[in-house]
Subunit: 201 residues, 2 copies
Amino acid sequence: MSRHFPPAISRLISALGKLPGIGRKGSQRLAYYILGQDDEFARELSAAISNARDQIHLCPICCDLTETDPCEICSSTQRDRTRICVVESPRDIASLERIQEYNGLYHVLHGAISPMQDIGPEQIKLKELLIRLQESDQITEVILATNPTVEGEATALYIARLLKGTGIKTTRLAHGIPMGSDLEYADEVTLMRAFIGRQDI
Amino acid sequence: MSRHFPPAISRLISALGKLPGIGRKGSQRLAYYILGQDDEFARELSAAISNARDQIHLCPICCDLTETDPCEICSSTQRDRTRICVVESPRDIASLERIQEYNGLYHVLHGAISPMQDIGPEQIKLKELLIRLQESDQITEVILATNPTVEGEATALYIARLLKGTGIKTTRLAHGIPMGSDLEYADEVTLMRAFIGRQDI
């Protein structure tokens, strides 16, 4: 007597359920929402997914997701070509661009070194970065903007060590207490980092 | 200097952002997640959406979403054809089927009467229900399982009034304190309903 969804709905629910942060209830809700809209809605969503997947690929230079070859930033003449900011994922570029503080180039590692998850330096786009640095004599600074996690820190240290003696300056984003937050709620590691990194005012 | 996503990514983000409960950050996260998976993932998701939309339509009898004509429940010989349970949305059928308590038929209104949102009796599948009741002489009970909201209550009352004098018994799902919850946390309306609906034990 228990109800089986029509097969096409089941497939939709299960496909939606594979997206991150969307559980069983959530994927049912989304599936019924999509079916409740007009045809155009589903057509647009379906096309947007397949088009994006077909048209987007990695930039051969910085490994960011792009539709052009090379990507907009790598091919821009407005950018400062002496600095490369190294990030873990393409989304980090969007965040950094939003602050409008940095006008250099990027490099996307597509992950971070994580022995626990069996991800070594070969599994991320590190070789591509090193080749890039070797082939260019313009780069004077590499900004390591990997995440402030165990993996991100390890990756930053690893890259910093590789670049030692090359004459390229390596920097790391500052760690500290986030703006607008409260000392009381800062975790110990953040507080420690904030202390160590204290600056003259 | 602010970053524009590649157009195909922008379109994907905006299409995903139209889904309920998925905000700007969420749709960016989903878009990048989809682009980070293999081709198969995006193809499957895209096809599941367009196939579901193509294959699923409303059952001509009960207005549930279905792939067959009429739907599985309406065409089943195992179901009790003397009772119709009236719900607001197809998802409610899934919930009710899960409790394995009811073996009758269903009718999906696709909404509830809501003067505030300009939804009158003509905007929901109420006419279809009335025709169904007129054409069948088997129906002895209509169970009003619309939501316990202002709109759901109004819709249930409206239908109950229409069916008065037809000889068809109309019932409403019981309201009260949900199982496993605490009296202390029950809202006043729920508590009042539980009191009014109290039963001998």
